[in-house]
Amino acid sequence: MKTSQGQIGKNLGDILEVSLERIESLLKGDYGLSKRAIGLFLLQEDGELISKVRETQPDIWPVIEKIIRDTKQHYQQPLTYIINLSYHEEARRIMQTVLTHMPRQSLPFRERLSRVMINPVTGLPILLLILYYGIYKFVGGFGAGMAVDFIEKKIFEAHINLWFTRLFNLFIPWRLLADLFVGEFGILTLGIRYAIALILPIVATFFIAFAVIEDSGYLPRLALLIDRLFKKIGLTGRAVIPMVLGLGCDTMATMVTRTLPTKRERVIATVLLALAVPCSAQLGVILSLLAGNPKGLWLWAFIVGLVFLLIGFLSSLILPGEAPSFYMEIPPLRLPKFSNVFIKTLTRVEWYFREIFPMFILASIFIWLGQLTGLFGLLTRILEHPIRWIGLPDKASVAFLFGFFRRDYGAAGLYDIKKAGLLNGNQLVVACVTLTLFLPCIAQFLMNVKERGVRTGIAISVFVLFFSFSTGFLVNFLLILFGVHL
């Protein structure tokens, strides 16, 4: 502030400086900042400081207000512009004395790569390559395919499950109590197996891919590529960050919607995350479910994409508020550092695991209690009706009941049903579409309530529940109508 003192007076004539001095002389009391700084903020009509001064010196405020009003009349531009201009001028003066910039004759490689990435003609193929290798091959193929197969079959089914089942059956004579741990839905055989063998490899591989993309500086480039499309759904390119993160964990992404500048954007992003953005665990399971059925996979991606755009477009029409504007700094591209990627992945996986692990165990306990009291059977039978409407076998209702606990838990349930050979191609696509759009998990629901309020949180869930089944019904109906067999 001291440096700018002389500059403001020198550059802009005496009027602003005189007004500033008059305000300074009027200010009494402790504001935690220098009087000059307070004066500059008041001249720029800073809301927070105006109310503070009004509160502290109510008798003086009208005088200060008149000074501000009179000063404004002397300038064509807002005072904030005039004052900021002199800050920039001073910063430029200091920089010129200490910095000599010698630009290179040719563009460096990373700058050329950056230009290729932001050009729509070359940028879109690059985006598809990143999605294909980063998400489909690495998360879907390696994480959800190879890693899950290995941990589930070689570790859990071959050793841990057998060993624990034997152990429990040997030491716990009561069948009912043993079921809690090693039964069909037991804590060890189902809860921990889902968490470690199915979800962990998928989530870990996604977060590795995300950290590499994030650290390379690709996200802002993706944001500018996608801005025009996102404007149609009431968002800006900036929203690409929570959306891509949502492909990892929707709960984490809902928290990140805070970075969006307007309330309207935050609500639209929350609705879309709850409805049409599958989390990595869910995505991984769906990718492996539809791995042998490329037509089904394309249809699933098309329907979910269509719902994303349609609901975004409709909510942008309904929700009040101004159209947002897009601005973003494009940092230079950088080679990600292994240690950073490792630490980021580990932190995120730990956060995710802490979130889901107790939930999975709790789900097993609830199901066990439900089976004991007959409530589980009753709920499954109730759910069988909407399940039949969307053309799925009765057994799929168990997967949907799991889905109430967590969406990925539901998708993992579907994995077991597919393994048993109970679903044909069409049913698989309908089930995957409905479960993708299905209710947000408990953690995401709580985050929705925390970020958007109880009313909006509940309203989003109710809407999502009805919308997911309606879409499932419609997809099934259209597949039958057109005689499509996937």
Binding site: Y81, N84, L85, P120, A223, L224, P320, S325, F326, I330
Partner: protein, 153 residues
């Protein structure tokens, strides 16, 4: 602000109640009374307001922040950033907006009169280089930045 359907007087909905004077129904009555001619109309429903707000075209910012007598060197031309061609270089002339937030955003990027600027790309977003930094902005923000084009006719 609402416009009276009878006399065309523009007034604020919140202050309209003052013109009801000592009317005994003033507390429960929902009608809005024009302070100029006394004509009464029912208020617009909230849902209609929300709908209309979304369909209404935003008013174009016509107020001029750029000083009229910007100093121009010989052979220079002033155009907005969204009218520039890719790879074209220039010097910022002024920012034309009355929106405080917009102004602050642009100034935070270092867009101040006199700064050198190069437009790198104009589709799908406007990407420009200013100093050592690159930024991407949309058409709305780009149209508020006016640039002296070097060496133009």
């Amino acid at each position: 602000m609402i416009k009276c359907g009878l006399c065309g007087f523009e007034f604020d909905e919140r202050t309209a109640g003052k013109s009801c004077g000592g009317c005994s129904l003033a507390k429960t009555c929902k009608l809005i009374r024009c302070p100029n001619c006394g004509y009464e109309t029912p208020p617009e429903p909230r849902w209609l307001k929300v709908l209309l707000k979304n369909f209404k075209r935003p008013k174009k910012d016509t107020s001029i922040l750029c000083p009229v007598n910007i100093e121009k060197k010989q052979g220079e031309q002033i155009i907005s950033l969204d009218a520039m061609a890719a790879e074209q270089k220039g010097r910022i002339a002024c920012i034309q907006t009355t929106d405080r937030k917009k102004l602050q955003k642009l100034m935070a990027m270092g867009i101040v009169p006199g700064a050198g600027i190069t437009l790198l790309q104009s589709f799908p977003a406007y990407v420009f280089q200013i100093g050592q930094s690159q930024f991407a902005i949309d058409k709305d923000l780009a149209s508020a930045i006016f640039v002296h084009i070097l060496g133009a006719d």
